[in-house]
């Protein structure tokens, strides 16, 4: 059949005609939407996602986008799962092809029995007999409904939303509610978009007889949940943690943290009496300056933060080493993306772990929080300040592009119940009691490696001290004496041990009789949960530990000891957490095995379970 013939052939389903005997597939499949970057499809895709969420169906959305403003191909995948599995799946049964450039590839990727929905002006051979085809007259419907050519591409996206709603049974009321969320209740854009959605749905109802088994139905599984991205959660956490100073420099995928700070701070943190902000936020000239400002503000006593990604972290190395050695609190969010170098700036990775943990001029180790969900992005958002000020040191929070930029379901954020902890700060009264010679800035009075500090501006003649990154003694005086150096480094080691105890402990699910342990962290949680179910279905029992902080908890060593083999699942090329755990559990290092993968996409449960099965079979 020639292309022309195919185009002229009325589209009836090849694989899934009505009554073909296939059982309906309800609330358990994936959709991939292929569009052009910058065409406004993100609104359409997140609207679909939120509409499904509002229908009570567990759902996840992953944006696979290029480093480009406009024109390059982009894909958005949505997974609906009645079983509440929200990791990325390797296959997408329903392919929506709106980008002529990638249509041939998109057509090939649709699995047998799948669905191919496409803009009817895309001219490619549609000759598979195992797909259901749905052509959509996108141009016709959008030009009829949008006189302004500039807005037509935006409207075109609503055409596929309407068609998908009709084909899959997505409730139009929930699509409208999702649009209301997107446009923050502004009726006019909601109405103009809904008009197109309804027309497209009506057209599809009249012209596209259902020929596939996939559909969605209302569930009650998302009741009480919210849907949000990790960057917004991080910023809100910081705001409820009392952030007073933030400095940042634009970088994908971390910019959303600063965007959300700029959005919510003016709403939430203006003093009702003075009408003045209780914060300051500065867009710095580079990441080096951003952390420099944060260190300056932290030294002066403000709760200070920055957010960045890999290349920015590199520029922050010198200030991180400085803050570590001079005992200055700072919170640094690293929303990780794919390195090395500029790498793939719009793709996810967990490749910064070792670099961040050891960042500096050598011989430094930094506490790191490892949020595994958007819920923890919020929680660690506020907790990070308490920990950084308690430990008086730069503290990192390692999120990633998947967690940070994609929308995730979560239970609503809990209000912080613990009071704000400002750490060890001496007041004027304290200084009066201590008297002359009583305050020594770097003296480990309590034995936990954390010394008491005073804040600049404390109006007491004994308050001041001199902060420096060069060698110093307990009195904060310049010293190159070997014993002063060793004393200070020993104190910093004791601080590490304090951090090990007070940082969030791992979440552990120990399974009776399991020989295999799985350790993971960060955004891979959902894939690991599903992989364990797949392994269990094959009779392979596994325990699971999700690590939430560095330095590693003492529980990690115990977990390794309790299993014959421990697989460390992670999203980087160097098996970085695996290396850290091997160092920690040195006597059992040979039983700690890497299970890492790094191609720019979030991990899938299928990959994890088959990798573990393969390693088990080959005894690797």
């Amino acid at each position: 059949m020639s292309v022309a013939e195919i185009q002229n052939t009325p589209r009836t389903a090849f694989g899934g005609a009505p009554g073909d005997g296939r059982a309906p597939v309800v609330n358990d499949f994936s959709i991939s939407v292929a569009t052009k970057n910058g065409s406004g499809s993100q609104t359409a895709n997140t609207t679909l996602l939120r509409a499904l969420f509002k229908m009570g169906i567990p759902v996840s959305g992953k944006n696979v986008f290029p480093s480009n403003i406009q024109g390059m191909p982009t894909w958005y995948t949505i997974r609906v799962s009645k079983d509440n599995y929200i990791a990325r799946r390797p296959l997408t049964e329903i392919v929506v092809a709106m980008n002529p450039v990638t249509a041939i590839e998109d057509h090939q990727t649709a699995p047998p029995g799948g669905v191919f929905i496409y803009a009817d002006d895309i001219k490619i051979p549609l000759n598979r007999t195992d797909l259901s085809y749905y052509p959509i007259p996108v141009k016709k419907l959008s030009s009829e409904n949008e006189p302004d050519p500039k807005l037509r591409s935006y409207v075109a996206n609503m055409v596929y939303v309407g068609a998908l709603a009709q084909i899959l049974g997505i409730s139009l009321d929930d699509i409208e509610a999702a649009l209301m969320y997107h446009f923050r209740g502004r009726r006019k854009p909601v109405d103009s978009n809904m008009k197109v959605v309804r027309l497209a749905a009506e057209w599809a109802q009249a012209n596209l007889p259902k020929s596939d088994p996939f559909k969605v139905e209302q569930l009650k599984l998302t009741d009480g949940q919210i849907m949000v991205d990790g960057n917004t959660a991080a910023a809100l956490g910081a705001i409820y943690g009392g952030v007073q100073f933030a400095a940042w420099y634009p970088i994908t995928p971390a910019t959303g943290v600063a965007d959300a700070l700029n959005e919510f701070l003016p709403r939430l943190r203006v003093d009702p009496e003075t009408k003045k902000p209780t914060y300051a936020i500065i867009q710095a000239e580079d990441e080096l300056a951003a952390l420099g400002m944060v260190i300056g503000a932290g030294w002066a006593g403000a709760r200070s933060m920055t957010s960045t990604s890999g290349p920015g972290i590199s520029l922050m190395a010198e200030f991180t080493g400085y803050g570590y050695f001079a005992d200055i609190p700072a919170v640094i969010w690293d929303v990780q993306r794919m390195g090395p170098s500029t790498g793939m700036p719009t793709k996810v990775s967990q490749g910064d772990l070792i670099k961040v943990h050891y960042l500096g001029h050598g011989d430094s180790k930094h506490p790191c929080l490892l949020p595994g969900s958007v819920y923890e992005c919020f929680e660690f958002g506020w907790r990070a300040f308490d920990l950084a000020e308690r430990l008086q040191t730069p503290l990192f929070v390692l999120s990633d592009l998947d967690l940070g930029m994609n929308q995730w379901m979560t239970r609503p954020f809990d209000y912080p119940e613990e009071p704000i902890d400002r750490g060890k700060v001496l007041s004027i009264e304290d200084l009066n009691k201590l008297g002359f010679g009583g305050f020594k800035r770097y003296k480990d009075v309590d034995g936990d490696g954390i010394a008491w500090r005073t804040l600049p501006g404390t109006e007491h003649p004994l308050a001041a001290y001199f902060t420096r990154g060069t060698g110093h003694n307990d009195d904060a005086r310049l010293s190159e004496r070997p014993e002063d150096w060793e004393n200070n480094m020993a104190r910093l080691m004791r601080k590490q041990e304090t951090a090990r105890k007070i940082m969030p402990q791992p979440v552990v699910e120990q399974v009776e009789g399991a020989e295999i342990g799985i350790i993971g962290y960060g955004s891979t949680d959902s894939a690991i949960i599903e992989a364990r179910a797949m392994l269990a279905a094959k009779g392979v029992k596994t325990s699971y530990m999700r690590v939430r902080a560095l330095p590693l908890s003492a529980l990690v060593k115990e977990f390794v000891a309790a299993h014959k083999r421990t697989y460390v699942v992670e999203l980087n090329s160097d098996a970085q957490m695996c290396q850290l755990i091997q160092l920690e559990a040195l006597d059992r290092a040979a039983t700690v095995k890497p299970c890492n993968h790094n191609d720019g996409r979030p991990l899938t449960a299928a990959w994890i379970s088959s990798a573990i099965l393969q390693k088990e079979a080959t005894n690797q």
Binding site: A289, A300, F466
Partner: protein
């Protein structure tokens, strides 16, 4: 003849001191000069930087700056060691090479009621930290930014810095053929509202410049030629004591007038120019070369350009614009510094979080 109320600062601040104590000389806040001292210097004997540290002590003592309300900042280098050598009762922070500007920006935004005095060098500001320096000026952070400029890297033993003049010779580095970075020109280009050049060999002028700089509401840049006696003090060097003493051309003399001071001084119309600073104090400028108006930005740039082309060593207040918004004003900060806002005002209400999460359902 016109008469205006004016005070010479040295006289005014010493007057109550004499009244208060015959034995101890106290300043207007009741402190002795010794209360402004720092640790002993470890710089080379005769270093220009030590002279400047001494003028900082004099200026702060005479102005009655409360040491606890001052923070001292620096980068890395010989110059950057000097904050340890003045005002031990002030908090100090010796930051990274070239990075005083961002640290100052954070610290003085977190507590914008503090005075900030920073000491940097020509390597620190003119090379590694040039970008951060200019961005701080764009933001107009309120602080005094002193560059102790000697044209040479001292701690690493005698390499050229970016402010070395063409033709300058150093024992190991040879002859410099690259054009110098003029940090005053850079500052004016970045909209800095207080730009002056001084000479460590003219302490009286340095003290006057520091006092006026402390009263300025934004960043005040003082580019002070401060000879390196070890590596760059040969007579023919444009950064040497002897060259400075022989060639220093003061473009103006000025008197710094603190707020509400009143004694009378006489001058001819047109001879003096008055500039009111942020805190109500004033600078009375007496033009020596009769042509330069320091409130004229183009004139200031032309003056520097002319000095650069003819290798003239001009000193004095080159440019002043007290009207630019400071960073703290831009950030709309209130009377209470951010760091003194109580914890209960830093955590929004439980209800506000419930409202936000409800909107995400």
């Amino acid at each position: 003849m016109t008469t205006v109320p004016v005070v010479k600062l040295a006289a005014s601040s010493e007057a109550p001191a004499r009244a208060a104590s015959a034995a101890k000389k106290l300043n207007i806040i009741g402190l002795e000069r010794i209360d402004y001292k720092g640790a002993d210097s470890t710089l080379c004997a005769g270093c220009g930087h030590d002279s400047i540290a001494s003028q900082i002590i004099t200026a702060c003592y005479e102005m009655g700056v409360r040491p606890e309300r001052m923070i001292k900042l620096s980068g890395i280098g010989c110059s950057s060691k000097s904050p340890a050598y003045f005002m031990s009762r002030s908090f100090g922070i010796n930051t990274l090479h070239g990075r005083m500007a961002p640290v100052a920006t954070g610290a003085l935004t977190a507590n914008h009621k503090l005075y900030g005095i920073g000491v940097s060098g020509d390597g620190d500001t003119g090379s590694i930290g040039l970008g951060n320096f200019k961005h701080m000026l764009r933001r107009n952070l309120r602080m005094v930014y002193i560059i102790e400029n000697n044209g040479v890297y001292g701690l690493t033993k005698g390499q050229f810095s970016a402010t070395a003049d063409i033709g300058q010779e150093l024992r190991h580095a040879g002859r410099n053929d690259l054009p110098p970075v003029d940090l005053c020109l850079e500052a004016i280009a970045a909209e800095c509202g207080f730009v002056a050049r001084g000479f460590a060999g003219d302490p009286k002028q340095v003290v006057a410049l520091i006092k006026a700089a402390l009263a300025h509401g934004g960043t005040a840049v003082l580019d002070i030629i401060s000879p390196c006696v070890t590596f760059n003090n040969k007579d023919e060097s444009t950064k040497s004591y002897s060259w400075g003493k022989a060639n220093d051309e003061r473009i103006n003399d000025f008197t710094f007038v603190p707020p509400q001071e009143e004694i009378r001084m006489e001058f001819k119309p047109g001879e003096m120019k008055e500039v009111e600073l942020h805190d109500g104090s004033r600078i009375l400028l007496k033009n020596l070369d009769q042509s330069h108006d320091p409130t004229d930005r183009n004139a200031a740039m032309n003056l520097l350009q002319d000095a650069r082309e003819n290798q003239l060593f001009i000193t004095g207040l080159i440019y002043v614009n007290p009207n630019r918004e400071s960073l703290a004003e831009h950030e709309n900060l209130g009377d209470t510094p951010l760091v003194q806002i109580p914890n209960e005002k830093l955590r929004p209400s439980r209800e506000s979080l419930q409202k936000i999460t409800a909107s995400m359902a």
